[in-house]
């Protein structure tokens, strides 16, 4: 870091309170200069070392090692067994559990991410108006964020209860049939997606709001002069300008959404994703293989596959969101 030690302090700053120590001649001075040089070359690495060491040991290494475990017969208690090559993957991919869990995961993900982003955009547009008491409204939409997913799940379990649940009561009041939220597959996905949406919509609305406020106001004025109403302005100015932020929100919700565990795990007291695995997600399946059946090899294979799925979804989502937001904004 020689540059900062040799450069003079900027003239704008007040003069340093004490004069810089003049280098002492002789051996002690040279030693001290060498120490100072060592200090400035080694310090940056020392400062970033804790992050890298801890991340590699507790994050990266386990992730990479998962691929190695997946190639073995590996019992939770007995430990490593024979090398079996791709056998765990074959077992996982030919079993029914994986595909069902994958379908459930994707279904819950779609039901939570698409409406959530729509609602978040709408809420952000409302918050972007020149409101009175704006901090109140912003805090109001953020409130669910501080409720733990586990607690959210407990509360919504009750709201979505098949018997005596509030949602079913309301459905009956308006003359509809009650829904079997805990046995019907799609209905259970809707209920679980509702929990996710409850917790994250306001949070994402604030992210989008921040991006909206960065849009130059004269773009709206220009659109208004061109005769665009509020709705048209929203789609032809706001959404295209928000493109990078929407992509960001979609990607982060993909990474989190495909690993969903808490809400479906807590959707009944057995925690296995339903009597017929109606809402068993991939992480619940992973947990069940690894900790109920003690088969670490197969659990690791599921982890590796889920990792790949997340990467594929992330890339596809990135391309798709970019495309959609782009088309609405006209060609650039």
């Amino acid at each position: 870091m020689g540059a900062t030690t040799t450069a003079p302090p900027a003239g704008a700053l007040p003069p340093p309170p004490a004069p810089a120590p003049t280098p002492q001649p002789g051996r002690r001075g040279r030693g001290r200069a060498r120490l100072a040089r060592l200090d400035s070359t080694a310090s940056p690495y020392l400062y970033i070392a804790p992050f890298f060491l801890l991340f590699i040991v507790t994050g990266l290494f386990p992730l990479v090692y998962t691929g190695w475990v997946a190639l073995h017969d590996w019992d939770q208690i007995m430990g490593k067994g024979e090398f079996v090559g791709m056998e765990n993957y074959v077992d996982v991919l030919t079993g029914r559990g994986f595909w069902k869990a994958l379908a459930n995961t994707v279904s819950i993900f779609v039901l939570s991410s698409v409406p959530q982003i729509m609602a978040a955009l709408l809420i952000a547009a409302l918050l972007d108006r020149n409101l009175r008491a704006r901090t109140f409204w912003r805090m109001g939409v953020l409130l669910p964020y501080v409720v733990a997913p586990v607690a959210v799940a407990l509360i919504f379990n009750n709201l979505f209860a098949d018997r005596f649940g509030l949602i079913n009561l309301l459905l009956e009041t308006v003359g509809l049939d009650p829904v079997r939220w805990h046995s019907d597959r799609l209905a259970s996905h809707v209920a679980i997606a509702t929990m996710v949406n409850f917790r994250w919509t306001g949070y994402n609305a604030l992210i989008l709001l921040a991006a909206m406020q960065a849009i130059p106001r004269d773009l709206y004025e220009q659109a208004a002069i061109d005769g665009a109403n509020a709705w048209r302005q929203f789609w032809s100015v706001t959404v295209p300008m928000l493109r990078p932020t929407i992509v960001f929100v979609v990607i982060t919700s993909t990474i989190g959404g495909l690993q969903i565990f808490d809400e479906p795990k807590m959707y009944d007291s057995f925690g296995r994703g339903g009597a017929d695995q109606q809402w068993q997600t991939l992480t619940i399946y992973l947990y069940e293989l690894g900790w109920t059946r003690a088969d670490f090899g197969m659990a690791s294979a599921v982890a590796v596959l889920l990792f790949g799925i997340i990467v594929v979804f992330g890339v596809v989502n990135f391309l798709l969101t970019r495309r959609i937001a782009h088309d609405d904004g006209g060609r650039r």
Partner: protein
């Protein structure tokens, strides 16, 4: 800019009511006995049974222990994330060293890596160390986050004038002394936000603590899971637990909700 009409306020009020309703509802249910839903269908007013339900919750699961554990884990993890992130962020933002560019790219790339999928080997490591069932098993993997480093790097790049660092160095301050007296004070606003978000994320975290801690030494979400496994159909009881477990973060929200809002708007992301 013109003030919006009542429709905007009406829609926003509906959204905010929707945010609050599940919490209010859980208080109402938690303050009755479990037969109320079957009897009244739609109890509107809180009943007088909350403390009895709360007492049963405390008898069923180690609730105080779980609360203490959550406080210990969340505080330790947040303090550590803030310290190490500030340290690394300062180096990336303000110090020049060989390899800093690629290393920062590495940090940013790891933000998108679902490290949670390494649970199997991580569990083996913890079992080998004899840490399963111990809080250290939850604390140690949380000590650093890539997001924290990225967040502090971005903030410190514009918050600390390089001239100040140079001046301190010319005065003969060591690198660490410079960091301590120039970097840390400048980092404070971003550091306090990072603390808040890490605290909420750690407090509400369930997957890994559930796997590694077990029933005797749980954090709050793990204790709630036990409560549900024991009393699923007794909604009053289960929701009393949910209410009790949510109170600490509601207090935090009242005290620091404003900072959470501005943190998100300045670019905090999900963890």
């Amino acid at each position: 800019m013109r003030r919006p009409g009542w429709i905007v306020y009406g829609l926003l009020a509906a959204v905010v009511l929707g945010s609050m309703f599940p919490l209010l509802w859980s208080v109402v249910v938690a303050s009755h006995d479990s037969t109320v839903l079957a009897r009244d269908r739609f109890p509107v007013v809180p009943g007088g049974n909350f403390f009895r339900n709360a007492a049963t919750v405390l008898d069923t699961v180690p609730f105080w222990r779980a609360t203490l554990n959550s406080v210990i884990v969340s505080t330790t993890v947040s303090a550590s994330v803030v310290f190490f992130s500030t340290l690394a962020g300062y180096a990336f933002a303000k110090l020049r060293f060989r390899g800093s560019g690629p290393l920062l790219v590495f940090v940013i790339a790891t933000m998108a890596v679902p490290t949670q999928l390494g649970v199997v080997p991580l569990y083996q490591v913890m079992a080998r160390l004899g840490w399963t069932g111990e809080l250290t098993a939850v604390i140690v993997p949380g000590l650093v986050t890539a997001f924290g480093v990225f967040w502090m790097t971005q903030y410190l790049a514009q918050a600390v004038p390089s001239e100040l660092i140079e001046a301190a160095r010319v005065d003969g301050a060591s690198m660490f002394r410079t960091f301590w007296h120039v970097g840390i004070p400048a980092a404070r606003p971003a550091a306090s936000m990072l603390f808040l978000f890490t605290f909420v994320a750690t407090w509400t975290n369930f997957f890994w603590p559930f796997i590694v801690l077990g029933p005797r030494n749980p954090t709050l979400p793990v204790a709630l899971q036990q409560l549900q496994a024991a009393h699923f159909v007794d909604y009053s009881l289960v929701l009393a637990g949910a209410v009790l477990a949510t109170i600490p973060l509601l207090v935090l929200f009242v005290l620091a909700g404003r900072q959470l809002v501005s943190g998100i708007m300045q670019g905090a992301v999900k963890q």
